[in-house]
Symmetry: C2
Subunit: 260 residues, 2 copies
């Protein structure tokens, strides 16, 4: 399948390499940043352009992998209305294409992509949506050779999935940052916590129901320890509020667990 | 080394097996719950008692591995004052022993122990504290054969470490529970999130500075997405507060990152 990649950031880079490795022809890269476009094109041994009107017209699929805020602008710049075009954003509805395009959809790989961290697509679920069954079939065959698990998902449910990912990844990472600061202030390296953090994710995933494997002072309603912790946080009022809020959340989860 | 294990719960079970495997003689189990005492003693091919006055007097080390709330009572029941005794609690000061005992300390393995999940001590850091250099040497040699990393740590710093563990493990797990609920409500299995959760911990640990690898709507200050998420949480006011609180926390962390 001939694919044009619109964008040359982290996701565009990882996704176009994976699609190429899976046997597709990534025939052109478009980015308004020439340096990024050139780098990715070189990496894939393909060509690039920075001009909307030089985008090739005969590809089977155009993938818009740019930041959420740039999607609408990119769509308005695309020099076609009939070709199949998708975006890759968790929180943008598919119908962002509806006004201009005839054939469109979404390819949403659920992972956090960073430049310096390798991505193994065999471990990433990919969520598809398309405006017609035929277009869905085309998307399925584009990603079909990726070793990923593929699901079909509506825009509404993709938004929910994205919200879950914010809790499970972005917010979790901010708690890691708090924990890192606390251990570093105690003169210890952050990696003393690593086995515990690792075990916590393993247990949650293995159980299938994280609330059932909840431990800690709030789960045991150990007021003495909770009070001591809150006192210790006096120099960080925002961490203190997080402590109170999440302790409340745990106790509510525990109560709901106990219901028949 | 001859060791008596006081307690027969999850931590007592995992720790006494690890100490035995490391070449120590776990010569007796004490628990007031006969069933637990018997089960662990059988498991270790050793003897048990449920009576304080039947605890053997000639061991080199007594390990109190009971729940935080039971520690004081257990100490008052112990039929000796000279032998070396330790507890294993993150949030209890070493001086809980000071009134009655002459020789005491703490062995704190940083991990969350559950009955159904195996424990690999080679991946668990162990933190030691003792009231004299001689007692510290004894504790070092007791845990010396464990493949764990061993650190010396004061009660005060152990409390900070425990607080960090609450953020990095207990609170993280409560966010996993929220994420699990959201994906399940969307009709998806929780394990679609597993690769993302796994990657999040890997990136945080590898970076050494989780705040530096923070991603997501709050980190990008994407108000449109944040507003949409907050609307979606209208049926869960407590999650909504967590969302607001942690978004604020992320933005503060980002600002602090940017300071020179």
């Amino acid at each position: 399948m001939r694919i044009v990649m619109i964008g040359a950031g982290n996701l565009a880079t990882h996704l176009s390499k994976a699609l190429q490795d899976a046997g597709n022809d990534v025939c052109q890269i478009f980015s308004r940043t020439e340096k990024s476009a050139m780098r990715l094109a070189k990496n894939l041994k393909t060509v690039y352009t920075t001009a909307f009107d030089r985008i090739v017209r005969d590809a089977d699929l155009y993938i818009v992998a740019v930041s959420d805020d740039a999607i609408a602008e990119v769509i308005s710049g695309l020099p076609f209305t009939e070709s199949l075009v998708v975006h890759t954003a968790g929180s943008i509805q598919m119908n962002v294409f509806a006004e201009k395009m005839r054939n469109y959809g979404v390819i949403y790989p659920l992972q956090s992509f960073s430049k310096d961290y390798p991505v193994n697509f065999s471990e990433i679920p990919v969520f598809l949506e398309a405006n017609t069954p035929e277009n869905l079939t085309t998307l399925r065959s584009a990603v079909g050779q990726l070793p990923a698990k593929v699901y079909e998902l509506t825009s509404e449910k993709r938004l929910e999935l994205h919200l879950a990912a914010v809790f499970g990844a972005n917010f979790v990472n901010s708690l890691y940052a708090v924990a890192a600061q606390i251990v570093q202030d105690a003169g210890l390296p952050f990696d003393v916590l690593a086995p515990l953090l690792q075990k916590t994710v393993d247990k949650a995933v293995e159980s299938g129901h994280p609330a059932q494997v909840q431990t800690g002072p709030a789960a045991r309603n150990n007021q003495r320890v909770m009070q001591k912790h809150i006192e210790m946080l006096h120099t960080h009022p925002e961490w203190r509020q997080v402590y109170r809020q999440l302790s409340k959340c745990i106790q509510k989860q525990q109560n709901e667990q106990m219901k028949p």
